[in-house]
Amino acid sequence: MEIFRMKSIWAIASNTVKQSLRMKIAVVFIILLVVLLPVLGLVTSGDGTIKGRLQTFISYSLSLTSLLICLLTIVVSIYSVTSDLDTCQIHTVVTKPVRRFQVLLGKLLGVVLLGCFLLLFAAVLIFFVTIYIPKSMGADESGLIRLKNEFFTARAGLAPTPVDVSDQVAQEMRNLQQKGQISPEMLSDKQTLQRIINEITLAKEQATRSAAPGQELIWQFKNVKIKSADSNPTFFVRFKYDVPVTRPDMEIYSRWAVGDDRQIKYGTPVKTRIAQFDRKDKIRSFYEIEVPAEVIADDGYLAVGFLNIANLNSSSVIFPREDGIEVLYKADDFVPNYIRSVFLIFFRMVFLACLGIFASTFLSMPVAVLLCLLVYVAGSASGFIMESFETLGENVGLLYSYTIKPIVSLLPQFDKYNPSQYLIDGRLLSWPFLAKAVLLIVCIKAVILLLIGILIFNRRELAKITV
């Protein structure tokens, strides 16, 4: 019986693939992929460097592939169901020994197979173009090594241990009270008090990230464990400067020290080396300092020090809160990371296929397509949307939590699970992260949609009364 079921599901799936190919729905997308991907490989230049070109290409090509396959999935999944309903072909299908949910599963399988095939094709093409770009641009030995470390890799990122500023805030409060700048009335009003504390906390916290000329900053990292097969493993300190006054071409002279600073503090002889770098970097761009892994202490402790050189710089330097400073180290190779990135696009596609099937069980083709496009766009900006609703929702309370919130949280977070941002910086897209994406996007959201779709399809009348 089980085989019997699979047989009919396969029959419907292969029919769906034939439909999309022979009705020439998929053709446009296939041609676009086949033509545009190699063209992108030729025309992208990025910032002129090989790495820049690679970053631009991989980002554009993956986004393009994702966009085209997502659009194709939406259109094919909806068309395959609505056309059957509109032209009554469904009458000859559901009167055969096939359950209605099997019809939908067959369509879904067909759409996913088609998308899978295209995705595989595009992924292989993009991979080979990416590999080919450095060779075509005549990269030298050192350039290739740099690319291997910064692009053709999968690096995990570590944020510094957050600095606890609560003591400083308490101290500041006492100071202000002593000076009489905070009156007892202000202290008795809870809201005012909270606002004052928030402001002081923010100022103190920002102080830990900014250095005036002549000042230094030290960040601490714990559990830095580098597993590498290389004989001379390295890791990267990645940073970005900001300045209070806008001068786009401004450059900062800096001295960096990376290593175990505890041994200096306590006057003991230096056991592990401390690496030092003198640099000159533009503001508001990311830079990476390659550091040998030997500077990390045995217990995984690492400190990174930054000095704003007084004689050469005139402005204080701020490190942005989110991405000002970070330690990156190699955790996996490029290929598995790339494969996982492709999987992210695949999950996206499966979600949209389920969404399309769901929408087509009760909507006509144009309406269903519009709905799916809306969800796709909203999903691609889900972070922004959720944040804005969250802010708005604070004032609406219950009404928000029971109406908009569940709907918004059903949105697929395509922007959060976007593969380009990982590949551009050669960042690790870990298996746990991938598993989380499957769980959220496919196992929960897509399956919920599919089940609702099946429920609707089972309940509805598939024929119209014609009298």
Binding site: H91, T95, A463, I465
Partner: protein, 410 residues
């Protein structure tokens, strides 16, 4: 199971979005269709025939009442595996070829690929579309699409065949073939529900009819009972001499009977088929369907094969072999023995007309009157049909039914 189809106060109403203008598409319908019966659902356009069929198949849900097929719900795969359905329009996938279409539906039934392959070839032969089997269905004329629609309805060797306007869009030859097919299938133990507004179709093939109007059954009964003019008698004779005629008139006048002496007219259908046969004999080409009357042998195994039922599948798929193999039992019997002699003449014509062999080679031999008919025993397709019908004639309906009941349930 007493009835193949049974409806209990089946009612379907529909109204607009606001619930206004309630219309009864089907109103308190109580149909009972027995096994091995050809039942005709007659009625003008919009009388609820198609709605009834959609309700029977679960495509629509009844507002009230129930529709039972084989005693259960027709959406149950166990039950609809035994149903063949031809919708009012042949709703086919335009982008599939004729062969792929049949393959697709065969796969939905979960037929093993070998069985499927054999059946598809047999059905393509049967509906005369073998030559265009690799053409996309979207390029077919309405009649050709209808034939493929019919073929898909037969791919599972159904016990119950539901045909909604089966002759819709077919030329007279195709219409005739479908009617013959229905009769043959009925003889093999199938139950057939037929809906039509073409009275001639229904009259020729149905055992029982119901006339619907406004969703209600107006009349129901056996065709013969309903149509019999009990107060009249008819004598049909070969050409009579004037003297013989005068004698008969004398007898009738003595009885004080009202009578009419007339020369009977040919049916237009017969005349049409004969005309096209003439044209085909002059080897005129057509791009349309060239049908045979060979009926896929897998469609219900005859009692001859009853003893071999241990190898059910082999039995079912023997159709395509039979089509090409030389017939063992050659006979010049009329194709359908129970029809009138006039009808038999048409039948032979039809056979000659639709055979795939070169028509120009046919010699008028053994043909009644002036009608050119191809010798029956020279055409393997005819032989198959003859063989089949001969076999059927030798066997009782009951036996057929038993065997088909078993075979149909795969």
């Amino acid at each position: 199971m007493e009835y193949v189809i049974e409806t209990l106060s089946l009612t379907k109403t529909f109204s607009d979005w606001w619930g206004r203008n309630k219309v009864y598409a089907v109103d308190d319908l109580n149909l009972r269709i027995h096994s091995n019966e050809v039942f005709g659902l007659l009625g003008p356009n919009g009388s609820g025939k198609t709605t009834t069929i959609k309700l029977l198949l679960g495509l629509l849900r009844p507002t009230k009442g129930r529709a039972l097929v084989f005693g259960g719900d027709s959406t149950d795969p166990k039950i609809n595996a035994r149903i063949g359905f031809l919708p009012e329009e042949s709703y086919l996938y335009r982008y599939l070829t004729a062969r792929e279409t049949l393959n697709f539906y065969g796969r939905l039934f979960g037929l093993p690929s070998r069985v499927r392959k054999d059946r598809i070839e047999a059905l393509l032969d049967m509906v005369g579309l073998r030559a265009v089997a690799n053409r996309q269905v979207g390029t077919f004329s309405k009649g050709m699409a209808r034939r493929i629609g019919l073929a898909q309805a037969l791919i599972n060797d159904p016990d119950l065949l539901i045909l909604d306007e089966p002759t819709n869009g077919l030329d007279p030859i195709g219409t005739r073939q479908i009617k013959d097919l229905i009769i043959t299938l009925a003889k093999r133990g199938k139950t057939i529900l037929l809906s039509s507004h073409l009275l001639a179709d229904v009259e020729d093939v149905c055992d029982r009819i119901a006339i619907l109007y406004g969703g209600k059954v107006q009349v129901e009964g056996k065709v013969k009972d309903l149509l019999e003019q009990t107060g009249k008698k008819q004598i049909t004779a070969a050409k009579l001499s004037d003297s013989a005629l005068r004698k008969i008139e004398t007898v009738l006048e003595a009885e004080h009977a009202d009578y009419v002496v007339d020369t009977p007219l040919d049916k237009l259908e017969t005349f049409f088929i004969r005309t096209v046969a003439d044209a085909q004999q002059q080897s005129l080409l057509t791009s349309g369907a060239v049908s045979t009357t060979a009926i896929g042998d897998f469609l219900s195994a005859g009692t001859e094969k009853k003893s071999e039922q241990a190898v059910v599948l082999e039995n079912l798929v023997s159709g395509s072999e039979a089509v090409t193999a030389p017939a063992k039992t050659l006979t010049s019997k009329p194709v359908l023995a129970e029809t009138s002699s006039n009808h038999n003449v048409d039948k032979k014509l039809l056979v000659s007309l639709t055979s795939e062999d070169e028509p120009g080679l046919n010699k008028p031999q053994d043909a009644p009157k002036t009608t050119p008919v191809k010798p029956v025993d020279q055409n393997p397709d005819e032989s198959v049909l003859d063989q089949l019908t001969d076999r059927d004639n030798n066997n009782s309906k009951g036996d057929d039914k038993k065997s088909s009941d078993k075979d149909g349930d795969f």
